[in-house]
């Protein structure tokens, strides 16, 4: 059995880089898919609204763990053997898109209806209304809850450990398997997650206060 050493801590910190990478992929992918989802949710077309709403319900009603299993083991059985990072990236994009889509829909709807009417009366078309009047205001509303959701993403990346993606949580398990000092190791793992998440939490709270003060 190995003695717990400084090298193990270095190993954990290095693994945390994969946690960060997966979080960034999840956020960027989630944002790229989530914005169209949010816009579809508030679209005039019933079909678009229905599609987006169906997607959100499906994903929000499915454990992320199962999405991970499906994209890694499920697609693997079908002959599409994905790298764990790719499978995790896809799963987290699917997951984050549903939640960001729903968060951002709320932010778009939080912009007063009168802003639509005023810009309509000035002759702006729908695209111009979104681009110049509605989305800039929705963005301001969206920043605090979006940053808050990023904390959830960072913590949930630990689930990717189940498909063999060696991020922070999986690295903790590996170190534990060789040293068998679970309390010390998982305390260190928790501390690293905290260091990643705490600044985001603080940022979310500060931004929220500022958003309210600006009203």
């Amino acid at each position: 059995m190995n003695q717990l050493s400084f090298n193990h801590v270095v190993y954990l910190v290095e693994a945390a880089r994969w946690t960060i990478l997966l979080s960034v992929i999840a956020f960027i992918g989630g944002a790229m898919v989530g914005l169209p989802i949010a816009l579809m949710r508030v679209a005039r077309s019933k079909v678009l609204r229905g599609l987006a709403s169906g997607y959100i319900q499906l994903i929000q009603g499915t454990p992320l763990l199962i999405v991970l299993f499906l994209s890694y083991f499920g697609l693997g059985i079908l002959g599409y053997k994905l790298d764990p990072l790719v499978a995790a990236g896809i799963s987290f994009t699917i997951y984050a898109a549903a939640f960001l889509g729903e968060i951002w829909r709320g932010c778009i709807e939080a912009v007063p209806k009168t802003q639509w009417e005023a810009s309509d009366c000035l002759g702006l078309n729908s695209f111009q209304q979104y681009a110049y009047v509605i989305l800039p205001q929705a963005l301001r509303i969206a920043i605090p809850p979006t940053v808050g959701f990023m904390v959830q993403i960072v913590k949930n990346t630990s689930l990717a450990s189940v498909i063999g993606f060696v991020e922070l949580a999986r690295a903790g398990q590996i170190v534990n398997n060789s040293t068998f000092e679970p309390f010390a190791i998982f305390t260190a793992v928790a501390a690293i997650y905290f260091v990643l998440c705490y600044p985001l939490s603080v940022a979310a709270r500060t931004l929220e206060r500022r958003a309210h003060a600006g009203r």
Binding site: T114, A118, G123
Partner: protein, 252 residues
């Protein structure tokens, strides 16, 4: 009071037996109204009489269930974006809650539609913004954000923003209802100027003094109908219905 303008008699707005329903509720029940070029019309009545709804129908913000509205030759209330764009070019609307864009400064609030809709260059639009701001007496607020302005100033910016597009008709929807008397006076002053310069306008208002002083025609609405209408002086001097008598009495 001498009238500086000369109505040409050309019909600009024609509302014909309009019916508007919100679910089972009939808000407008066969309303007809004609406005000629240069006329100032004041629509008065209690809350819930349908006066704001009528104005929103004329602005094309509501679809109607019956009858027809024509504004500057464009049919309103029928779906179709081409007709709507035409209408937007000719009709300006000012709201009770100002509805300035809070994330843009005063100048950009005004130039936004000039550059996007009228396709003016930045320089042209800025020049026009300066012009209309001086008309409402707010030249010094060009770089301010809406939240830095008083309600009266915001409303004057909103009027300037509408005027910048050179509409043929201006619609005012209870534009002073959220303002205290002092700020109300400065906004009404701007509207009075406009009326004297020959702007065709319809104003839904609770300001009886303004209606008496400025309007050529008064429309009293009650229960979704035009209850009483006519030249301002006549209507106020000889109220024909008990409802209008009571309404005018309660306003004094």
């Amino acid at each position: 009071m001498p009238d500086a303008k000369s109505p040409t008699g050309e019909s600009v707005i024609s509302v014909d037996k309009v019916v508007k329903e919100f679910g089972p509720l009939r808000v407008l029940d066969g309303v007809s109204l004609d406005v000629t070029r240069g006329q100032t019309v004041a629509i008065v009545g209690r809350s819930g009489s349908g006066k704001s709804t009528l104005l929103r129908c004329i602005a094309g913000l509501e679809t109607v269930q019956g009858g027809g509205i024509t504004v500057c030759g464009h049919e309103v209330g029928r779906p179709g974006s081409a007709a709507r764009a035409q209408l937007r070019r000719d009709v300006g609307m000012v709201f009770q809650s100002y509805n300035l864009f809070p994330h843009l400064n005063v100048e950009r609030n005004i130039t936004l539609a000039l550059t996007l809709v009228k396709k003016q260059s930045k320089e042209e639009a800025k020049k026009r913004a300066a012009e209309v701001l001086s008309m409402v007496g707010l030249t010094d607020k060009i770089a301010s954000y809406p939240e830095q302005l008083s309600g009266g100033q915001q409303q004057r910016v909103a009027i300037a923003r509408s005027l910048a597009l050179q509409p043929q008709v201006m619609l005012f929807d209870e534009v002073t209802s959220a303002l205290d008397p002092e700020l109300t006076a400065e906004v009404l002053g701007v509207m009075e100027d406009l009326a004297h310069h020959g702007m065709t306008m319809i104003s839904v208002t609770h300001e009886m003094g303004f209606a008496r002083r400025v309007a050529d025609v008064v429309v009293f609405m009650h229960q979704g109908k035009v209850w009483e209408t006519g030249p301002t002086a006549d209507v106020f001097a000889n109220p024909r219905t008990a409802e209008f008598k009571q309404f005018v009495g309660s306003e004094l």
